[in-house]
């Protein structure tokens, strides 16, 4: 999988999000709020720092009990959800 091919929302947009440990996500510009689960929260926090695909998957594998292929598949799907939520 080439991480360059995966399109996430712009990093500036993601870094402005307020994330709480309980999974509450707030976008101060639009006023929209969301609930995110533990794995989703980890991905959002990673994306606020990096867009490097390899780093993201490796960190998730270090923090969670998950295989490479499952993590890759689920993050790809999560990217679709992020693009839809943060246009």
């Amino acid at each position: 999988m080439n991480g360059q091919a995966v399109e996430f929302p712009k990093q500036a947009l993601l870094t402005r999000l307020a994330l709480s440990d309980s999974g509450f996500v707030f976008d101060p510009v639009t006023g929209n709020s969301f609930t995110v689960n533990t794995s989703g929260l980890s991905i959002l926090r990673l994306l606020q720092k990096t867009e490097d695909w390899t780093d993201i998957i490796a960190t998730l594998q270090a923090d969670f009990e998950v295989s490479y292929s499952v993590a890759e598949r689920d993050v790809l799907e999560f990217a679709t959800a992020l693009r839809s939520a943060f246009k």
Partner: protein
């Protein structure tokens, strides 16, 4: 220590849309049916799998009978074969005392093959071919005429047999509550029903003994049945007065709603679907009022015949299906692809079936679309349902599915799966084996010249 991985999701918070009457679900998963674990059944018989509860089936029909028999002296239930004619299901209901209610030559022969004598068959439907009409007349089935051509056909059959055949006629009329199903039977308001009665009275071969009508399906307002009874009893008095016949029974058809959620219905079924007792109260109370003078006049009280199908069998059967894939839709919703779709669940066209995971799942529920496996855009089992994250291999229980699915299912690009029954004593019996390719292709015949797909060698 590493954390457990759950599919990542992000759910937007939306204002409004809450239903203040919304019921709180006591349990968010279903792992057994009548105490029998479902997961091992999936291992043994494969997914998808229909599972029938014999106990629920018997309980339902007993409740129906009790509700009516405690309010009216003469009650008969005809099991509506078209609702679910798997032989094991039919025979459970026959063992409970139900007659067979059939609507075609195929169903008549199916009832006979199940061991039901013709004298315990109610024969409805708009097309009864001559040979089966003759057999039904010979065997003493309760025949309900649908139209004038059938009246003449039966008269000829009776003449040929050399005996007078008792007969009922199907009526249609406006109750003011449901759409009149004017395509079935003789219309009351236009005078067609009266003409048919007069024609029967004039025949030496036919004898009018009963009246039948079916006012609709999934009827939620019990007052519709009260109106039906008033109209039918008025007509009964009129035809007895006009022709001197004696009406022995009133067959009010089916139409009682099951505990299923019609699409577009605002309230949950538990709050909106009348109980058998509520139907019975409206029907028998009206019948009691309308027939008060009959006993004093020396006329018999009519037997009340019910053809309740859906409300008896629907919640006695579940469909267990398994997630085979998932995707994130462009609008942000999650899509899950199941191994069972509209091919097995015809009723998904009009119901929002209840769907529960087979085991407790982690994660917050999010809006999900459940798709079937068909290569058709309309193959949607639930257009919108809140479910936790679903991995491939997770199984879901869909209910209630007992009515109309095992009779209207299609063999379209998939084989139909097994149906098993959890019996009263907790055993599990296959009541319909899963189809094999040979079951479908075995009926086909290929001409000699078409035996080989590529006689000139493989195409490029």
């Amino acid at each position: 220590m590493k954390q457990t991985w759950v599919k990542p999701f992000l759910t937007p918070h939306r204002m409004g849309g809450m239903n203040k009457f919304g019921a709180v679900r006591a349990q968010n998963h279903q792992s057994d049916l009548d105490g029998v674990e479902i997961a091992p059944l999936l291992e043994k018989y494969g997914s998808p799998l229909f599972i029938v509860s014999e106990k629920t089936l018997r309980d339902n029909v007993r409740r129906l009978r009790r509700a009516f028999a405690t309010r009216w002296p003469k009650v008969r239930h005809g099991w509506s074969y078209k609702t679910n004619y798997l032989a094991a299901i039919c025979n459970v209901l026959h063992q409970e005392g139900s007659w067979a209610e059939v609507v075609s030559e195929f169903e008549y022969r199916k009832a006979r093959a199940n061991g039901v004598p013709g004298s315990r068959i109610i024969f409805n439907g708009p097309w009864k071919p001559n040979d089966i009409l003759e057999l039904a007349a010979q065997e003493g089935a309760t025949i309900h005429l649908d139209h004038l051509d059938e009246l003449y056909a039966l008269e000829q059959v009776a003449c040929k047999l050399g005996k007078q055949v008792p007969v009922g006629i199907r009526l249609n009329f406006d109750t003011g509550y449901t759409d009149s199903w004017s395509r079935f039977g003789f219309n009351l308001e236009s005078g067609a029903a009266k003409d048919a009665v007069q024609r029967i009275a004039a025949s030496p071969w036919l004898k009018l003994t009963g009246l039948h009508s079916h006012i609709g399906t999934f009827v939620l307002d019990v007052r519709a049945y009260a109106a039906q009874i008033r109209i039918m009893t008025d007509f009964m008095e009129q035809v007895e007065r006009d022709t001197g016949c004696v009406i022995g029974y009133l067959d009010i058809g089916g139409g009682f709603a099951s505990r299923n959620a019609l699409q577009g219905m605002y309230l949950p079924p538990d709050q909106i679907v009348p109980s058998f007792e509520q139907y019975a109260e409206a029907i028998c109370g009206t019948l009691m009022e309308a027939t008060q003078g009959r006993v004093a006049a020396g006329k018999p009280l009519p037997t009340l015949i019910l053809e309740t199908g859906r409300a008896v069998v629907d919640d006695a059967e579940i469909l267990v299906t398994t997630v085979v894939g998932g995707k994130r839709l462009p609008d942000g919703r999650r899509g899950a692809i199941l191994d069972a779709g509209l091919n097995l669940l015809f009723t998904a066209f009009w119901y929002n079936h209840e769907v529960k995971p087979l085991r407790p799942l982690n994660g917050i529920a999010e809006e999900t679309v459940l798709y079937g496996p068909l290569c058709m855009n309309i193959d949607v089992v639930r257009a919108s349902i809140m479910l936790p994250p679903l991995n491939v291999g997770e199984s879901l229980v869909i209910r209630p599915v007992g009515a109309y699915n095992n009779t209207q299912w299609m063999q379209f690009i998939q084989r139909r799966p097994a149906v098993v029954m959890v019996t009263q004593n907790g055993d599990v019996a296959v009541i319909r084996a899963s189809e094999q390719l040979e079951d479908v292709s075995g009926l086909e015949q290929v001409p000699q010249a078409l035996q080989v797909p590529f006689p000139q060698g493989l195409p490029a």
